[in-house]
Symmetry: C2
Subunit: 180 residues, 2 copies
DNA sequence: CACAGATTTCAATAATTATTGAAATCTGTG
DNA sequence: CACAGATTTCAATAATTATTGAAATCTGTG
């Protein structure tokens, strides 16, 4: 990978190896986080790449198809995890990863919240509006379950939102020291 | 569903309807949380069921196979989300859901942490041990990414652990008021 | 220890989700 | 506005994951 491309020093074999392992790890983890292996791997590849990469580079290094690379890149842009980098005189597009892990975390939280929580909250609110006889014990029990879940969803939402807004200092100081 | 089984009152049609909707919602949400639709639906069914249910009941109400019901129930027991209820003189097993939502949350956090975080941390630690030339800029960059991720994983771990241990009062007071 | 009534296992199949790759589209330049 | 060099779309296919259902196993009782 990327041989002789840098004035300072080539990538030593050990490092290339470690990177490959990291990409593999991120791919495996990705699937357990509910994203496709390719998405996670492209992200990992860009995270550990010193230069911006083109779609061609990704296709070559991960042996994925052009279509897959294109769709994956688009989705990562959408998540805010990578950026387009245009080079004067080059028609191709290059991509770099957001390297600040706090920022990366924010993006991931945002995307997962949208996917896992927001949709559920909407349906839940709708369900909670059901009419019913408050004197009926079974109705009461059902309604309790429903509003407990709603309450929980609300707390989760607030927590995640707060985490996303957290500043670096706040994050480490207030959060870690006082809270834990 | 469950007609004439209760001395106080039968389930009114509206309520049965709302429960069916809830089961459907939970099933849909489940898939976006990375668990099978059936697992989520059985859990939802038991959450809103006033009585303990047998495997037969689940099969009938969710139209799933015996094998599926059996495996799903076993997994829910494993998560700690449902309990076995034995009835004297009955050979069949009945199941009830944990109804305390704080407890439910703890179980879910524990299971997801195990699946999504713990495995990753192990691999990460292993990767971070790689040898390398500290004078090489590319190696340094890689190592920074790695240890940032490790740090993040450590914080996530602590946060989740703390949330699991949280008492009801702590949860609402300290957490919501002071923290948010 | 044989039986009935249950549960569990697991190979086969169905359903879902990810990926390919070729055709269509876009985009900047002469 | 035609062309070259790129990107995107999407139907077909592959890979993965969930589910079935029948056979095997378990379990309490006479």
């Amino acid at each position: 990978m990327t041989p002789f491309d840098n004035s300072s020093s080539p990538t030593p074999p050990d490092l290339a190896d470690a990177k490959a392992q990291f990409i593999h790890l991120w791919g495996v983890s990705g699937t357990s986080w509910g994203v496709s292996k390719t998405l996670a791997q492209v992200h990992a590849l860009l995270l550990v790449s010193p230069q911006a990469l083109s779609t061609e580079d990704m296709m070559a290094q991960l042996t994925i198809s052009r279509g897959n690379a294109s769709m994956t890149v688009r989705e990562l842009l959408d998540w805010g995890l990578i950026y387009k980098e245009l080079r004067p005189g080059e028609r191709r597009e290059f991509f770099v990863a957001e390297k600040d892990m706090l920022q990366v975390t924010r993006c991931i939280i945002r995307a997962r919240k949208r996917r896992e929580l927001d949709q559920m909250k909407r349906t839940l609110d709708q369900l909670a509006e059901l009419p019913g006889d408050p004197a009926n014990a079974e109705y009461q029990a059902f309604h309790t379950v429903l509003s407990d879940i709603q309450q929980l969803a609300a707390v989760s939402d607030k927590l995640l939102t707060k985490l996303m807004q957290a500043e670096r200092n706040w994050f480490w100081d207030k959060f870690l020291k006082l809270f834990l």
